[in-house]
């Protein structure tokens, strides 16, 4: 089961760097990320890192609102249509995506799709019926 680290951030100069500063000081490596913002002047930073628990703990200790959030991580082929192959299944299963991002796994020329959904457990079960299973954690977080 993979986790991203979600952090509440005000949309102000220097706030993003405050997060990366904490990660740097704790030797945490970022694998992938998304940053969203709302019209209300704040947003959420989602990070895929090599050590999610340690990252969340360090950010919380630094005074930030950080949370571990389950995400579905699927492997995909790193070639044209790779993402579409997976999304067809997600679409067929009727799972709604709140947020999505990806990364390349350099070792085996594979890519990784991360999706954030409303109901993680239900989505997991529905997607299993489509023969779509999440990757193991060491592949998600690893090099």
């Amino acid at each position: 089961m993979a986790y991203q680290v979600s952090i509440f951030l005000e949309n102000k100069p220097g706030h993003f760097e405050r997060v990366t500063g904490v990660l740097k000081a704790n030797g945490i490596n970022i694998r992938s990320m998304t940053l969203t913002h709302t019209v209300s002047g704040w947003g959420i930073l989602n990070l895929l890192v090599d050590q999610p628990e340690k990252a969340c703990e360090a950010l919380t200790k630094a005074g930030l609102s950080a949370a571990l959030r389950k995400v579905l991580a699927f492997g995909m082929e790193d070639h044209p249509g790779g993402l579409d192959d997976i999304l067809m299944k997600v679409s067929h299963a009727g799972v709604n995506i709140l947020n999505a991002y990806g990364r390349i796994i350099s070792k085996n020329e594979q890519a990784l799709l991360l999706i954030d959904v409303d109901d993680y457990d239900q989505a997991l079960a529905t997607l299993a019926a489509e023969d779509l299973y999440p990757l193991e954690d060491h592949l998600v977080y690893g090099n």
């Binding site: 709302t38 959420i44 709140l98």
Partner: protein
């Protein structure tokens, strides 16, 4: 030109005599209420002890907290059958402040309102548009009864919808308006957007502005924009509402109607009188109210007596613009707000902490109340929709409580400085307002 020459130009000596008579009557009337009956019995106070206006200093004060503690009927001197109206603050967190009126009180208030409007140059030939919320807020019905008593054609337009306001003005040839000053800048922008010039395209001549603090510069700006004379109105719901003090055409301070109110200006710390001309807290006693008289009510408004006689010939004292508050109340969009009300709302929402900061700021020509709230670490789970819903909940609950819609901003934990004193909670950036939030 006077509405009631015999009262408005009474010699000071005769005015004081009238005040003493009315004060005695008021004390006797007040003792019909459970609150004053008990209070005065315990202190051995009777009307006989009063022979001079200065004797009022022996009487205890009445505070907003007293009104709340004896909600709803503790100050009522008559059976409910005699009462014909109430006006009340919102107050969903605590007991609201409610004032009851009988027939005499409503008639007396309407007369004071008519006198006030007349004193600002309004006549029965005027078409008066009251751009003000009707309902529990006193600025609606308070003005309405005064306008009708004076004999103007009244347009009870209510608040908001600027296009409709402009249409009413043009359809019926409105000559006079009552509105809160911060609204008028916005109204002018709508005039401009419609390609209209209020100086040429309306018959407007007199504005009455009140219910929120504003400076002389702001008044002059309004006069310039609309080509009118603007007069300052002062009132508070505990003293009926509007019609307590009003500017005459001299525009040099507000005549406070001393046949209806006995006023004192006291040092808010020592509660001793300050010399005429010095600023202090306005303490007021109703002299012509039957259903619910209030004696030595601490308004918390800071002002001063303007000691020189007024060129208009009225003998009733003039008070200066309200310079601030001796507590932490502030006014936004015409609504009186205590930081405690906002705090009360936040405490009832388990997802947020009690840390908050209120910033009052002019944004796009309108005064806004920005409420910053920290997002708690232990509640946050990374879901944007949940945070947006929380923002909407906080916004609507604060609006229900204080009647003014806030802009709610979620901030990171620790973003709000922790400190002692109320000054930290409220930052007033509105340039035009001379008021300083006091740290008491």
């Amino acid at each position: 030109m006077f509405w009631e020459k015999e009262f408005e130009t009474l010699r000071r000596k005769d005015l004081e005599k009238l005040q003493v008579d009315r004060l005695k009557k008021t004390i006797n009337q007040a003792m019909e209420s459970p609150f004053y009956k008990e209070l005065y019995a315990a202190k051995g106070i009777t009307a006989e002890r009063i022979s001079d206006v200065k004797d009022i200093r022996e009487l205890p004060f009445t505070t907003k907290q007293d009104l709340r503690n004896h909600f709803p009927y503790g100050f009522l001197t008559q059976p409910k059958k005699e009462i014909i109206r109430l006006h009340s603050s919102s107050g969903t967190t605590g007991n609201p402040t409610v004032i009851f009126h009988n027939r005499h009180d409503i008639a007396s208030w309407a007369n004071l309102m008519a006198r006030s409007l007349f004193c600002a140059g309004i006549r029965d030939t005027d078409v008066f548009q009251n751009i003000c919320g009707y309902g529990l807020f006193t600025g609606g019905l308070g003005f309405q009864y005064g306008i009708e008593r004076l004999g103007c054609l009244s347009i009870p337009a209510g608040a908001g919808n600027s296009l409709r306001q402009i249409k009413l003005m043009r359809d019926y040839g409105t000559t006079a308006i009552h509105a809160i000053p911060s609204y008028l800048g916005r109204l002018y922008e709508v005039f401009q957007a419609e390609g209209l010039d209020p100086r040429k395209d309306t018959d407007l001549r007199i504005f009455v502005i009140g219910a929120e603090p504003h400076t002389e510069e702001q008044r002059r700006r309004i006069e310039e924009m609309f080509g009118v004379k603007a007069y300052n109105s002062f009132g508070l719901s505990e003293m009926n509402g509007p019609g307590v003090a009003f500017e005459c055409t001299e525009q040099a301070g507000l005549h406070i109607w001393e046949d209806a109110y006995l006023i004192e200006i006291l040092d808010p710390e020592t509660l001793e009188p300050v010399p005429d001309g010095e600023f202090g807290e306005l303490v007021m006693t109703t002299l012509d109210r039957q259903a619910m008289p209030l004696i030595r009510y601490r308004t918390r408004d800071l002002t001063r007596i303007i000691p020189e006689p007024c060129a208009c010939g009225r003998t009733h004292a003039r008070i200066d613009r309200i310079a601030g508050r001796s507590d932490d109340m502030f006014i936004i969009k015409g609504c009186n707000v205590f930081p405690m009300q906002v705090e009360g709302v936040l405490l009832r929402i388990p997802e947020v902490g009690s840390d908050y900061r209120i910033t009052l700021e002019e944004i796009n020509g309108a005064d806004e109340m920005i409420v910053e709230v920290e997002v708690k670490k232990d509640w946050f789970n990374g879901d944007i929709a949940r945070l947006e819903k929380l923002t909407r909940v906080i916004t609507s609950q604060i609006r229900d409580e204080v009647l003014a819609k806030p802009i709610v901003r979620l901030v990171e934990p620790g973003a709000i400085p922790k400190g002692k004193g109320k000054a930290v909670r409220v930052i007033d950036k509105r340039k035009q307002i001379a008021t300083q939030i006091q740290t008491t």
